[in-house]
């Protein structure tokens, strides 16, 4: 199926590889930044992940002017304001975000306040409401899944009003993302599994949903291949720097793919489940991926069948009749989940999570029906069909 029209945009410089951190001082200096604020969370700091970054900065002649390490897993307006105050009090001129999705989203929101002034983040909520470019923002991911290091979006909670504020602007995209395997070597096995499946789902949905385009396809299939080849390796050999680097690159490539081709039913169900049951996003992705592909198969089975090449390799792809490729691809994903369950206890069904009640499924279906991602799903889904998928995912 050829794409009649598409847009693709990713201005983020990718700095990737062994010793990538050592390139940060020079890259900051090219943007005129001398006093970066490190934005991170307590867990990252406790894991000792700031040490190689600070060492690289120091040798490069740039010291961190401030460190804000109080970002919670679900960042809020108060956190953003507190971090912005730290930035201003220390006369910083750039942000270095070191962490996972919450830290990265927080850094984008902090950048709005410190660049545009004031404390009223809500004035900039919504799509394309930022008037000009922001301060330099570099992102150093410490997980390999979110893809937020290359996206134009951020979500910040407003606990007082019990809402999540979405922000989307090209100006929110980081100037650079730094992929250094040292930052993920200590990632626990179950988080490696969960974030790996998050990245896998980004790539699979980017490839199989309505806004897929030739350029996002290239990123998506490369990401799928890297994850299929390296996720179990990284879990078996956590300190395998090559496998870690492959996963970090895959996550970023999947992020580039889905931020240009969007996502579909898995994310609609996952967002809803996260909202109702507070399950981690990556886990939700892993839970629903095979069931959503099964559902979509009647509409885009050939497209799903193409996933078999990056998933299982040329030999399996060539020896599988075209009509069976979609089923074999979905089966590959199921078996990958089985392996991850055996090695890390990553749940495969809603029941196995132990955190979802069957009487919550109706609410999950209702929320999924109104999730923004569902419009990009290739097959229409009504409430009854969503509920049927949830029943299958229950286990």
């Amino acid at each position: 199926m050829s794409k009649s029209y598409y847009e693709f945009f990713c201005p983020v410089k990718i700095i990737a590889g062994h010793s990538a951190l050592e390139h940060v001082p020079f890259e900051l200096s090219t943007l005129g930044a001398k006093r970066p604020m490190i934005l991170t969370d307590a867990g990252v700091r406790k894991a000792g992940l700031l040490a190689p970054v600070e060492a690289a900065l120091q040798v490069g002649g740039i010291g961190a002017a401030a460190i804000f390490d109080d970002v919670p897993p679900d960042s809020s307006l108060a956190t953003v304001r507190a971090a912005a105050t730290t930035y201003r009090d220390n006369d910083c001129d750039a942000i270095l975000a070191i962490g996972g999705g919450s830290v990265i989203d927080t850094s984008k929101a902090v950048n709005i306040l410190v660049s545009l002034g004031g404390d009223d983040l809500m004035a900039y909520a919504g799509a394309h409401n930022l008037p000009r470019p922001l301060k330099p923002l570099f992102v150093i991911p410490t997980t390999s899944g979110t893809g937020s290091e290359v996206t134009l979006a951020a979500v910040i909670s407003d606990p007082e009003r019990s809402v999540k504020l979405p922000f989307a602007s090209y100006y929110l995209m980081p100037n650079a993302t730094v992929l250094d395997p040292r930052m993920t070597l200590t990632l626990p096995a179950h988080i490696t599994a969960m974030t790996g499946m998050d990245a896998m789902t980004h790539a699979v949905e980017a490839f199989t949903c309505l806004a897929a385009n030739p350029i996002s396809d290239a990123y998506a299939t490369a990401a799928i291949q890297k994850i299929a080849n390296n996720l179990l390796v990284a879990i078996d050999e956590p300190r395998n720097a090559d496998a870690r680097l492959e996963l970090a690159q895959a996550s970023t490539m999947a992020g580039i793919a889905f931020s240009n081709a969007m996502v579909g039913l898995v994310h609609a169900l996952g967002h809803a489940t996260g909202g109702v049951c507070h399950l981690p996003h990556g886990l939700c992705m892993s839970l629903y991926l095979p069931y959503a592909l099964e559902y979509n198969k009647s509409v885009n089975g050939a497209r799903i069948g193409e996933l078999l090449l990056p998933l299982a390799g040329a030999q399996v792809y060539a020896s599988t009749p075209p009509a069976q490729r979609a089923d074999v691809a979905i089966d590959f994903i199921r078996r990958l989940r089985d392996h991850l369950h055996a090695k890390t206890q990553l749940p495969r069904t809603l029941q196995e999570t132990g955190k979802v009640r069957r009487d919550q499924l109706d609410e999950i279906a209702d929320r999924a029906l109104n999730d923004g991602s569902i419009i990009y799903n290739p097959k229409e889904a009504d409430l009854g069909q969503l509920r049927a998928i949830l029943d299958k995912a229950w286990g």
């Binding site: 009649s4 029209y5 394309h128 309505l210 109104n370 923004g372 990009y376």
Partner: protein
């Protein structure tokens, strides 16, 4: 710009403006005549306002949710509306309103942007899809929709005639 392309743009603009008038009135009618659309609209809060428009300066229409949970036409501005769906160009709106490109496909092809709560935009798209399934001939609706719902002919004709009747009447009453 040649005279030909100018006249083509003028024709497209007139067509899109006409279709926006029909669609907005059709949505108001469908929110009363069709249970599915009615249920969807009733989930917006009363007073909720939305605008569908074309960059840079229209054509456009505005709708407001009435206290009894139906759509009514509204003069709400883009700035004041809770949700604004904006086609990036007149030609894109023309594609959608000539049913050459469905609403979901138009989103996927970056033809338009939604400013507001995306959940509300999704609900509006469902209302549009349902209305199109009801009032358009099957072959045309199949081109515009991801999936044409199973609609018994009798139900389709009854509901469509009710919607068309209300739309026609609205041109005389407002």
């Amino acid at each position: 710009m040649t005279a030909h392309s100018l006249s083509l743009a003028a024709a497209q603009r007139a067509y899109v403006a006409l279709m926006m008038t029909v669609i907005s009135r059709g949505l108001c009618a469908a929110s009363i005549n069709d249970d599915d659309v009615g249920r969807e609209v009733a989930r917006f809060r009363p007073g909720y306002t939305l605008v569908m428009t074309v960059f840079p300066d229209g054509p456009r229409f505005g709708l407001e949710v009435t206290p009894d949970g139906h759509f009514a036409r509204s003069a709400v501005t883009d700035e004041a509306a809770d949700l604004v769906i904006r086609f990036k160009h007149l030609a894109h709106a023309f594609l959608v309103f000539t049913f050459q490109e469905g609403t979901a496909r138009a989103f996927a092809n970056d033809r338009m942007v939604a400013d507001g709560d995306l959940s509300d935009a999704i609900r509006l798209v469902r209302c549009l899809n349902r209305m199109e399934a009801l009032i358009l001939p099957g072959p045309v609706a199949r081109r515009a929709l991801k999936q044409y719902p199973p609609l018994p002919l009798g139900q389709k004709l009854r509901t469509a005639s009710g919607i068309y009747g209300r739309v026609a009447a609205s041109f005389f009453t407002r």
